[in-house]
Assembly symmetry: C2
């Protein structure tokens, strides 16, 4: 008899964004008075940079001719892309990362979901709250979280990210084995200082723990003092894996390209206490379960690192950061506490009510979609996330409409 | 202390194709007398059909303009592609599969690797031998295979595919829970008849087992009597998941698109014996750990189903099948037993010696790369797989060179 993985029955409700989509569909079926503006899901709205478009066209043409056609590529990505990443994203910032420590993939969602496969089942995991739901759900599926009570899993250690700690939790007093961190943060928009990250690296080294550092929003950092990579912190190479994405950097949410960095020194341990390097394990996992990113997509990603590509990406991010400033200022003027949005596309807004209630109010009274903070965890209750990914006109219209919530 | 998944230490040697690549590199460094012809790895060589190229260019242009730009798509694939698949690959052949039972992905390798996550750890798995290594390795990583002795894992049931059964194993006498089948087969090139598949479906229903049916080479079937899909067999909808790929169908090995079919009736069971539908579980897995296939790639795949696309794909497969016939005939004339190659791009050749020895001999004496059968399992010992994916000139030259092995 084929037995199912019963851990799936421990998953709570449906995936956040599916529930949001369902409520929108239901409301739309009642013929709302005007077009709904979606400030909820973190999906980009602006076209791909022209450098990427041109590179992709050229690569598609290569696929049309026998002499230049590309079949299977290296599972970990073509050298042309990994070298551009190592040079521009790491070495140029003083972080010592080699091209063969970079694994190109089709998404940071996939990578942050898959990485837990490298670890034993009985590890102790710390998860920030609020948090991107994928970190939790993938560990529930793997049987590491145990049963849930009041929205929290018995087997996880929660790191509350609240106004009291500026939405940057400090390392816990108790030892944990695996820690998920995300800066600039989704959903709160908070960034971590060098000192805060250094405290986490020191904690990981002292406890033989591992940090999974999700830097998908790195491109939004404009403050010179804020680290872009965990590898700007000495000692991080042995205790941190970093995830990056082109989704928000260059509008690749529908084009699909990302990468994960596993330094050669990065280690876990056997039950007998012997250190095991994670680089060959991730290589084995990546080459066994993945077959590389589409060649034209890798060429499009490479184009981000050309002079034209860099200028276009900067201008794209500038545009979204401009939106973010408008949102933050507008919500503040309405009397809401609003944080984030300075080095991040997300603004975290304290609503003064249940967050799904505010979601429904904004949808029904303003025809504006926001993301309920409670969907990201218990500490998100009372907040909503507003995304800066939209046209300027939509952002301005949405902010005008939301004044009706006051 | 972060504990590693120690199951990885049970994996045997490196991935087959990595070992082949290593031996080729080593030989190449000795300056071989002429260019090496690669008849080993199953990678296509001909350009993408022009219908796909044109569709991809149009989609890239859509990504260049705000009005037509696409961000995140549905994780399970756009309706335009799932509808074309359901209609052309299934309904047109009398197999009742709906678009919402199709999950578009970036590769059948990924899907056949990931599917085991839906099942409990303590299930009994039957694996053909020889076999595509991914089925075994992913279950080793998940802790289901136990230790290996003499190349076989204690926890797996092996189904020998030998000349005696025409390389199509019958269901075993003992009950198993999960069965991997692949027809047309990689590596043997064998196909299964309707009666053989019906016996497997009857076995699965009688034993409450599940069949994972890998049909990545379906497009090579030209014999009218051979089923293209397991769903042509009555009763399969409740006990089979099918995997398809555009990699070999339309040259997408470097472009990346595939799909998995999970019928609504398809079930597994709780330990208490309650039936659980697998469709919502795979949906949850797919939406949690995957973010959809690149939009231009999905448009390229859709173009396969246009009248021009169908004609171009047929001509592409005709070309490779022409190569396959040349290989099979040439090896037969040299006195080797050679099977497959009729409804398959692979020819399975009995070498009369250790298969890695034949690999080395063909490489060093003929500068031709073949795939050692032993790399696919114990029953592959003594055989090599020759692939039809090459130019006509290379195929003819390789066959002329291999006469030196006699």
């Amino acid at each position: 008899m084929i037995l199912v993985n019963e851990n799936y029955s421990l998953l709570q409700s449906s995936y956040l964004f599916a529930e949001i989509a369902r409520r929108i569909r239901e409301y739309e079926s009642t013929n709302p008075p005007r077009k709904i503006i979606r400030m909820g899901i973190g999906d980009v709205t602006e076209p791909l940079p022209s450098a990427c478009i041109e590179a992709m066209h050229r690569a598609v043409d290569e696929m049309a001719s026998r002499d230049t056609f590309r079949g299977y590529g290296p599972e970990q990505g073509y050298a042309f892309l990994r070298e551009a990443i190592a040079e521009n994203d790491f070495r140029a910032r003083g972080a010592d990362i080699a091209p063969d420590e970079i694994f190109v993939s089709d998404g940071a969602k996939c990578d942050t979901a898959n990485i837990q496969e490298l670890f034993a089942r009985d590890i102790r995991i710390a998860i920030p709250d609020p948090v991107y739901p994928v970190y939790v759900d993938t560990n529930v599926m793997a049987g590491r979280a145990g049963p849930a009570t009041d929205g929290r899993y018995a087997g996880l250690v929660y790191l509350d990210s609240t106004a009291a700690n500026g939405f940057v939790p400090a390392p816990p007093a108790e030892p944990v084995d695996l820690v998920y961190l995300c800066f600039p943060n989704n959903p709160t928009g908070a960034t971590a200082t060098r000192e805060q990250l250094a405290a986490w690296v020191a904690y990981a080294r002292a406890n033989k723990a591992l940090i999974l550092f999700d830097a998908a929003y790195e491109a939004f950092i404009r403050d010179d003092a804020t680290p872009h990579s965990i590898y700007e912190i000495p000692g991080a190479r042995e205790c941190a894996i970093e995830f990056r994405s082109f989704s928000k950097t260059a509008g690749f949410t529908g084009t699909r390209c990302a990468f994960t960095v596993v330094p050669k020194e990065c280690r876990a341990f056997t039950a007998a206490g012997e250190a095991v390097p994670l680089h060959p394990l991730w290589m084995r996992r990546h080459t066994t379960k993945f077959n590389g990113v589409s060649y034209p997509v890798q060429r499009a990603a490479e184009a981000i690192y050309t002079p034209e590509g860099k200028a276009q990406v900067k201008s794209l991010i500038d545009f979204y950061l401009g939106n973010a400033a408008i949102v933050r200022d507008a919500m503040s003027r309405l009397g809401y506490e609003a944080t984030g949005g300075a080095n991040s596309p997300y603004i975290w807004v304290r609503t003064g009510m249940d967050s799904w209630k505010f979601f429904d109010k904004a949808l029904r009274e303003c025809q504006v979609v926001v993301t309920p903070g409670a969907g990201f965890g218990r500490s998100g209750e009372g907040y909503v996330r507003i995304s800066a990914f939209n046209s300027r006109a939509n952002v301005e219209e949405a902010m005008a409409r939301l004044s009706a919530t006051r």
